[in-house]
């Protein structure tokens, strides 16, 4: 690939000295990158999300100690205030410690890991399911379309948290009591994913029904493409920018849904606490004055959800300037 492109074809680049555009400038002039660099909110929230994802991914290396390895815990460290050396052991915990002397900062890093993992996998599951069903409904039409969309309508009229709770409850009934703990995270992922596929299906179906009447589809058919090739190769890519936007917003919702379910005590088991579990535990210490056990996990959840939402907002505007 050539590094320089002749400037004459692009009138907007005439402020460049010689008119030669380097690869870097080319990237910078991409409308989406350009809009990203122009938006401090987008840069800030992207940085926060990236930082949190890295912190979650590398939690075992970053965290001062493994908060769930009981051998490393010292009860004497219990209830240390943030940034204040413990009165017995003299150890300092950045964000304090809980009743068992567990470092709150480490617990948050490990909790973030589980919250993000459940959120991301649940959204991927919902996207795959929703896109497949939406494509099927929009492309095939007829009774299949009517059936899928009616199921979607009925599901949409109930709050998704209720659906997730219900799926979680049913799944627990099918899983033997001894395996409930180990399966809980996957049950949670399936419950959140199944409660959230509808919006992807509806969006994809709406796009497919308008796209399939366009001329390029006719052209593809004329040169002999099969119906599934047209649907997957020609139409599906047109739904991707909308899916990306809804998926980003959906990630924030999924993380909050996971936190809510874990807070209600029906989420991940206490041996693998997510941010929601930490908040649930922290609530118990509110009355005895140990506010830091609650506050820091709650703030982490809030900042994470808010940053993802802001990023989604920006993405929507950047990908679809007409919506502004």
């Amino acid at each position: 690939m050539s590094k320089a492109i002749k400037p004459a074809s692009d009138p907007t680049s005439n402020e460049d000295e010689e008119g030669d555009r380097t690869r870097l400038q080319e990237i910078r002039d991409n409308p989406i990158v350009h809009s990203f660099l122009k938006s401090p909110v987008a840069i800030g929230s992207a940085l926060i999300v990236l930082l949190m994802m890295l912190a979650a991914a590398f939690a075992p290396w970053i965290a001062p100690h493994n908060p769930f390895d009981l051998a490393t815990l010292d009860l004497m460290d219990g209830f240390s205030h943030p940034m204040v050396p413990n009165e017995f052991t003299g150890k300092t915990f950045w964000l304090g410690s809980d009743d068992q002397g567990r470092d709150v900062f480490s617990a948050i890093l490990y909790g973030l890991r589980i919250s993000l993992f459940v959120g991301i996998v649940a959204v991927l599951f919902a996207v795959v399911l929703g896109v497949a069903l939406g494509l099927l409904a929009g492309w095939r039409g007829g009774w299949l379309d009517a059936f899928i969309m009616r199921v979607a309508d009925v599901q949409l009229s109930f709050p998704s948290i209720l659906i997730a709770l219900l799926i979680f409850g049913i799944a627990r009934g099918f899983i033997p009591a001894t395996e409930r703990e180990s399966a809980a995270m996957w049950v949670l992922i399936i419950a959140i994913g199944l409660s959230d596929w509808v919006q992807y299906a509806r969006t994809v179906r709406a796009i497919v029904t308008t796209e399939k009447r366009k001329e390029y589809v006719l052209a593809a058919r004329a040169i002999g493409c099969g119906p599934w090739r047209i649907a997957l190769v020609h139409i599906l890519p047109n739904t991707m920018s909308s899916i990306l936007v809804i998926g980003t917003m959906g990630l924030a919702l999924a993380i909050i849904a996971e936190a809510t379910l874990s807070f209600l005590g029906v989420g991940v088991p206490p041996t693998q606490p997510s941010l929601g579990t930490l908040i649930r535990v922290g609530q118990g210490f509110l009355f005895s004055g140990e506010w830091w056990i609650l506050l820091f996990p709650a703030l982490t959840l809030l900042v994470l959800a808010l940053s993802i939402n802001l990023l989604g907002d920006w993405l929507r505007d950047a990908l679809n300037p007409k919506l502004r």
Binding site: L166, G173, F263, L264, G265
Partner: protein
Amino acid sequence: MTTFIARRLLQAIVVLAVVALISFTMFRYVGDPIENILGQEATQADYNELVDRLGLNDPVPVQYFRFLGKALSGDFGVSYRQRRPVTQIIAERAPATLELAFISGLLALTGGIVFGIYTAINRDSYLSHAIMTGSLIGVSLPTFLIGILLIWIFAVELKWLPSFGRGTVTDLGWWTTGLLTISGLKSLILPAITLGLYQLTLIMRLVRAEMLEVLQMDYIRTARANGLPERKILYSHALRNTLIPVISITGLQFGSIIAFAIITESVFQWPGLGLLFIDAIQFVDVPVMAAYLMLIAVIFVIINLIVDILTYAVDPRARGTQPGSTP
């Protein structure tokens, strides 16, 4: 009108039948109902006897219709955990949830309309900007965090209000109410705000958007040109047309208030249906789960039906969008 109502009624019945099928499937196939009823020490003879008595050897459609028939007469069997009829447990718990939902709904509706009108009329005032920003934060805060925040401020730090339970309740025989005692009312404040805040912001944004749109209309300009007092224009001409969508959304939201009460009840240990449902999920108490599901479905379907019919009756424009209706 009659065909419209008939069609909606038919749809409602289909939805309920499907939910009943899900409930039945849970009831019949999740866990082993016989083992749950008899406990561990039962003999094989006891087991077979109960299977026969409950008719679990009958064809599945027969069992489904028996389940439907019993459900219609309000019989959902016996809770595995509490060993009492589910209907009785639900009747005990329902007043707490309904009172909470009703007060939150009222709060959301009045608060939403008042703030919505204010922010629409005084678009650029500082208070409007503050309210709009506050509402954005209110929407992005998860419900349970709002509850915890309120407990922290008003129960732990200020010690003004209780943080859990219903306070003293008055027993009216078939209904227990917390609305007649001071401690009952004080206990209601924080849960009601927690539950109503999200709906309040939703209604507020809706009222504001509708109001701004209506105020652009020609007939408002005409009313101004005719020299009508501003107050009359705003409250009797503009507001009235704003309220139709607001009422229909509020109606639909009432169902979600009851569902979201699960979270609020869990934060405040409010002894209602939501807490019952969470307990049922934790202990896989299938009859309670099935009954709760049916109850919520019935409430949702009835509310949807009423809202649809009301909108149809009140707003002639809604009729045009119905497929098959003659303009």
